[in-house]
Structure formats: C-alpha cells, structure tokens
Symmetry: C2
Subunit: 196 residues, 2 copies
Amino acid sequence: MKVHGDKNSGNCLKVKFVCDRLALPYEWIEVDTRNGGSRTPEFLKLNPWGQVPTVVLDDGRTLAQSNAIIRYLARGSDLIPPDAYLAAKMDEWLFWEQYSHEPYVAVCRFHMVYLGKPASALDENLVKRGAAALDHLERHLGQSRFMAGDVVTLADVALVAYTRLAHEGGFDMTRYGAIRRWIGETENNLGLAPIG
Amino acid sequence: MKVHGDKNSGNCLKVKFVCDRLALPYEWIEVDTRNGGSRTPEFLKLNPWGQVPTVVLDDGRTLAQSNAIIRYLARGSDLIPPDAYLAAKMDEWLFWEQYSHEPYVAVCRFHMVYLGKPASALDENLVKRGAAALDHLERHLGQSRFMAGDVVTLADVALVAYTRLAHEGGFDMTRYGAIRRWIGETENNLGLAPIG
C-alpha cells in the first residue's frame, strides 16, 4: 500500500498513526502540497479532488478522505468499537471533526504555518469557531476518558491529529486541562512522542 | 425511536429517507429551529451541539450528526455495501458531503430560504464552491450510475438530500444532466415524489 501524504498535514498524519498503531505495511510518498504536488496530472489521476491523503492499495484501487481511509484501514481492529452504538458515537465525532473542528482549528494553523500569517492577522470568525470547537472538546473530555468511551478509537486518532497542533494555529492550550490530559494519553496509546 | 428534526433541513430528511426506505418505526418530532427550538435547555440535554437531526433510541440513548445516524440505522441493510472497499468509497462521499458540499450548497439555500436573501446577495465564495461541488458530482455521475457503484447507498441518500434542493439556493440545475438523471433514479429508489 502506498500512502501519498504531507507530513505537515494532520489529515495525512491520521493515516500514518493508524498504520503504525496497527503495524500495517505501507510506503509513505511525501507530496509537496505547498508547491502544487497534489495538482499534477499524475496526482489528479489518483485523486480528482487533488487532495492528500490518498491511499493506493496493492491492487491499484484508491481511497481518499482521511476519515474514510482510516475507517477502512482499521476495520476489525480495536480502534473501531465492536458495539454498534459506540461505533456510531465514534462516527459522530469523525463527522464533527470534519465539519466543526478541522475547518477552523486546522485552517488557523494553515494560515500561520503554511502562509506565514501572524496570529493577529487571522480571520476572527475562524478563531472564534476554533475556540468553540476546543471548548466543546474540553467539556466532553472532562466527562469521558476518550472521545467515544473508555478506550482509544478512530475518534481520538482523528481529533488528536490537529488538536495536538492547535497551538501552532494561535490557540492557547494552557486553558484546556482535560484536552491536554487526553492528548498525552492518546499519544501514549499511539506510540507518539509528545509534541507540546 | 424518536427523530427530532426540521423538515426543511436536508440533513434531517436524510434520516427520514433512511427510516422510510428501511421501514424502521419512528416518531418524528418537528423542531422549530428558526425560532430557537434546538437551543432550549431540554433540547440541549439531548444534543449539546444544539443541532438537528437528533435521534433518541428506545433505551433513551442519543445520536447526532446526520451521516453518523444514517450509518447506524442502515447497518446490515442494502444501503451499506457488504464489500469493505465499496463501503469505504461510500464513506468517502459521506465525508466529502459534509466538508465540500453541504457547507456551500446547503448554506446558499439556507441564506435564501431561511434568511430570505436574494441570490444576488449570496457570498460569492459560497456560490463558487457550491458550483465546484456540483461540477464534481456531475463529472462523477457521468461515469457512475450511483455515487458508490451500481446501486443506491447512503452516499446517494446523503448527497441527494441537498442536491435536489440546490435550485432553492440559486444553483442553475439545468446545466447538470447527469445529476438530474441520478436525482430521478435515487428519488425513485427511495420512494420520494420528484421535487424538481
């Protein structure tokens, strides 16, 4: 399996985290998205959206959309709850991550890290909605050890990917004790070195 | 099961479409979202995000996020491909719908239908991204009968919900022959009266 990704992208790192955690063999192909690497004619044949991550399975079939990829790769593993209701709660967070967290928390970081803007130049609406997403996470993680129950699932993988980088998008993570506790426990489970 | 929803909302209608198609018994509880019905203290106990649709199962447990709800309700049915790869392609579209389609196609309609704006007053960026999403659908449906293969899946349910209402958001659907063919076939499969 080949994973086409950008190691600065949380969406791409989700795939790496799952492969490493489950010891799935893969070749990582670094795509230079800042310089059009995901917009070449060759790449657009793999993914017409021109997005990373994109996975090419051994039989040549492709998969896109980070959360769809990890849901496929982790099938049958302990990262997806066997109980249907808990799996649905995991899915709630996967969809929430893409709708209400990534477009704000990750996009603020993109503007600062990729485009070089200072925090003071960020769009106020993005910052406000990113903080609202983090506030929501903090409330949830004050009551629950992990996102969808007592064990690490794909919901933790998906949400930790950009949350552990949120300080790079100007968010003050010292405010979020429950999130910091959860980042540490999730990093530990995934075998990641602490980033904070 | 109780489905709390707003019948003007495509996200809520996804749940109705799946329940009706699979003959799942449910009680629909109409929530007046325009007048704060999803922000009352009682509602926030069911869903701290204050969003519809929200489902309350017979044992009192709740589920939110439209695509997570339909994925749960349709488990084991013909609306989810038994093949893991095809199910992952279905998931691709479910995540794409929430990230790249709904925030533009549905939000333009929201501004016109809920807020009463004329099409000329819509945010140009929303209109441009909505048209890009529809262009992408048109290309895909020119090559594929349904979203994830030859049969109707949750990807069709999720995408048809707002695509069949896109004209109410100012999009000129006469440009999209393949989309119109697919809307008709999907409506027929779901037992819906044509809306266009």
